[in-house]
């Protein structure tokens, strides 16, 4: 683990080093290029704001009104038939909607059931194995100025379902159901 962590903390400095050395060899005016590219970053960040405000507000209303809890309640017995612990359902539903909220739930579940329990591990795998679908689509399409997403959301959410099923199976196989 410590070796893995070392690899990730070295990654970025090494990357920066490599890009700059290559620019030096190729005689690219690196500072000017950096500033030019950075300006583009400002424009992008500002253009994402309306997309994110719209999407995060909708999701926040959905959660605050109790609608999310209601749907979680509906799904519980259904998933129970398949041997999925009901405690995990809120996380599975929130994961595609909000990364921060999901991280909070993962933390709560880990604290409540222990990191080495079936639920604790399943929560960790769910949190670590997928990205926040709504956020990804909003930010990427928003920044590029694409307004009609086609079937992208459908593909993303269905893949999340597959991920959930795979996570339950893999955690059961690797760690057993204790």
């Amino acid at each position: 683990m410590s070796r893995m962590a070392a690899v990730s903390s070295w990654m970025i400095p090494v990357l920066v080093f490599g890009i700059l050395v290559y620019a030096l060899i190729k005689k690219v005016p690196a500072y000017e290029a950096f500033v030019e590219g950075g300006k583009e970053g400002i424009r992008m960040a500002v253009s994402i704001i309306p997309f994110l405000v719209g999407m995060l507000a909708a999701i926040a209303v959905f959660r605050a009104s109790g609608a999310l809890d209601f749907f979680v309640g509906l799904l519980r017995p259904v998933l129970g038939w398949f041997g999925v612990p009901p405690e995990i359902v809120p996380l599975a539903l929130v994961r595609p909607l909000s990364g921060n909220a999901a991280l909070g739930i993962t933390n709560d579940l880990t604290a409540a059931y222990g990191p080495d329990s079936f639920i604790g591990r399943l929560a960790a795998v769910l949190q670590g194995s997928t990205d926040t679908t709504f956020y990804i689509l909003t930010v990427y399409f928003g920044a590029a100025g694409v307004k009609r997403m086609g079937y992208a959301l459908k593909v993303g959410l269905l893949a999340d379902v597959v991920n959930f099923i795979a996570a339950v199976i893999v955690v059961t196989l690797v760690f057993g159901r204790s």
């Binding site: 893995m4 962590a5 970025i12 990357l15 290559y22 290029a33 950096f34 030019e36 590219g37 950075g38 300006k39 583009e40 970053g41 400002i42 992008m44 960040a45 500002v46 994402i48 405000v53 999407m55 995060l56 507000a57 909708a58 999701i59 209303v61 959905f62 959660r63 009104s65 109790g66 993962t106 933390n107 880990t110 990191p115 949190q127 670590g128 194995s129 997928t130 990205d131 689509l137 930010v139 990427y140 399409f141 920044a143 590029a144 100025g145 694409v146 307004k147 997403m149 079937y151 992208a152 959301l153 459908k154 593909v155 993303g156 269905l158 893949a159 999340d160 991920n163 893999v170 690797v174």
Partner: protein
Amino acid sequence: MINFIWIGILLTGIVFAVFTGRMDQVTEALFDSAGEAVTLCISLLSVLVFWLGLMRIAQQSGLLKKLSGLCRPLVARLFPDVPPEHPAMGYMLSNMIANLFGLGNAATPMGIKAMEQLRELNGGSDSASRPMITFLALNNSSIELIPTSVIAIRILHDAASPADIAFPAVISTAAACMAALLLDRLFWARQKRKGRVRA
């Protein structure tokens, strides 16, 4: 479609608030989350400026082109509609590599840049093109070797071996990734059959 989903989420929330009596919380959530979104964009700002600046250097020095040449055979199959020489390829590749190593803040700017290039390739249209959807499908289930934030939580709660979930997570992601690619192909084929696609 996103229109209906957005309206649907908001209206369902407000109607539910009528029955649960949580109108105050809903109002609060509306404005809190709007503020949160702006804060998020500001924190993205620094990351975007830094990485896009760096990527511009990589682009001008030809490093990006070299990188995309390296992995061309694999990626060209995933994106048959994107010319292998197109700059979008380089950005998509950098995004996937950054994701693989859990460098989320480096991955996002490159991914956005890739989307912009793909849009240009699509004639600047407002609609998502096929490579865009494939790219996001991959991105969303992108394989992360070291899920750092989760491992941090597990360390916090004294897990016996905090990183032992990394392997199951990779397997699970790989399954989702494959499913995403299959679904992407499937939906594409269906749309093509219906003749809703401009050549």
